[in-house]
Symmetry: C2
Subunit: 266 residues, 2 copies
């Protein structure tokens, strides 16, 4: 099976017009597909209205009990169901899920070392049988950033990580491509200039770009993550703007495509 | 297929201990089953924290845009996913849904006559193919009181109505029983005495009990609803306490069973 996994984040979700535009493009994206979404600033906004203030340690959000309730409401309730309803209107047979639904994603609560992240889940297992059954039955999984431990506890889990781990799990049996919709046009030489996209990165190019300090700081974990997926069998990883997703699907240059080998160049 | 549809309301959902006890009993309930739930006072509580006050006209809640967001968050997010995670722990392969997911329940926004109820949906169609596929695939649908119009709009829909309409739709092809878990032990002769249960009501008994004013006010729409389901092919309807659900499943007297004909007496 050819499967595309597409991840959208707050830069799309937080703006109704952008979300509508994205969902229209997504509805025209060909083949078997899975949509993964996070929550953006909406969760923080609702949390603050409820008196649940974001608690950060070393720049990372701590998920206490109240925060977990808020993200469950916003991700699995409001955002997931609005996306599903809009996709249904676009004649896409979307079905929204957390990792608890059908035991789609089992994780474990992150062990406490120096920092207690609270109710945060590290993924242990993806139920690829369920995804195969859904895709074969023409159902489109829309998955939000909540998982469970199969012991009754919901857990907050990074949506980028869900997308990567789901892609690598499915890649053991299928031909999988991974698309990250991002707030920039791709990996950029000059991060202030959307026209300075690096169209293709492989391992050799990556190590050179790191050496020359073109790729640095926040981009490194993203690309490491992408190469890790490629090393585990994912076909290619694309990073770009949501509005360029269809160009990417057609193989047109539109963002940054990350492939493993030099000889994979177009 | 034999299918049991079980509806729980706020009297179970609002109390974590009661909910846990119910879910344990529900996990032991034999055969194919579907769980339908509303939201109880939790939605009102969160709404008030967010400054969304319940607006009532003639004793009925009006669902404006903000209220719809709140019920979507609480029903489809918090409550539905907590139930699913707990059932997964109980080795039940639960999958939580709104009516938008897989186009399970299509409704239309209630037309404005004297009162504008806002974003409230009247059910038009149940996707029984999807339910059949899920039950055959050993997935347990957990359905909350949100539907959609297939034009991108989510709608708030009464959970009792969802249970009845789903039961009658499935009854066209299957052997369906309907269970309403309630805050009283069943239909009572003396509503203050839980020991005064009327164990069995059929159409003849019902008209007599109404004549004698034993059944009155709020109980009448509930029973009319039950008889309407029976007239459309549902096998039997049970009304009782959540903790007596397993007794009911075993055919033991435990609440009120509503059947169509006199000769259906045990």
């Amino acid at each position: 099976m050819n499967i595309s996994i597409i991840k959208i984040g707050g830069n799309v979700i937080d703006y109704p017009e952008k979300l509508n535009e994205f969902l229209y493009l997504f509805s025209r994206f060909p083949g078997n597909k899975i949509l993964i979404h996070g929550g953006g600033i909406m969760a923080s906004k609702f949390g603050e209205s409820l008196g649940v203030m974001p608690e950060m340690v070393d720049g990372r959000r701590i998920t206490d009990k109240d925060t977990l309730d808020v993200v469950t409401m916003v991700y699995a309730g409001l955002i997931n169901k609005q996306i599903v309803a809009k996709l249904q209107h676009l004649k896409q047979n979307a079905l929204g899920m957390t990792g608890a639904d059908g035991n789609l994603i089992r994780s474990i609560k992150r062990p406490v070392k120096t920092i207690d992240y609270g109710f945060v889940g590290d993924i242990k297992e993806i139920n690829i049988d369920l995804l195969e059954t859904m895709l074969s039955g023409n159902l489109l999984p829309v998955v939000c950033a909540i998982t469970h431990d199969k012991k009754g506890q919901l857990l907050n889990t990074n949506a980028d990580t869900i997308a990567s781990v789901m892609a690598t799990s499915l890649a053991t049996k299928h031909n999988v491509n991974l698309y990250f919709c991002f707030d920039k046009a791709g990996v950029l030489i000059d991060e202030k200039n959307d026209n300075s996209i690096i169209p293709l990165i492989n391992e050799e190019i990556y190590s050179e770009l790191k050496k020359e300090n073109v790729i640095h700081s926040g981009m490194i974990p993203k690309l490491d993550n992408a190469f890790s997926a490629l090393n585990k069998g994912v076909n290619h990883v694309w990073i770009g703007k949501a509005e360029n997703l269809l160009l990417a699907a057609k193989g047109k240059l539109s963002g940054t495509t990350i492939e493993k080998h030099k000889y994979d160049l177009y």
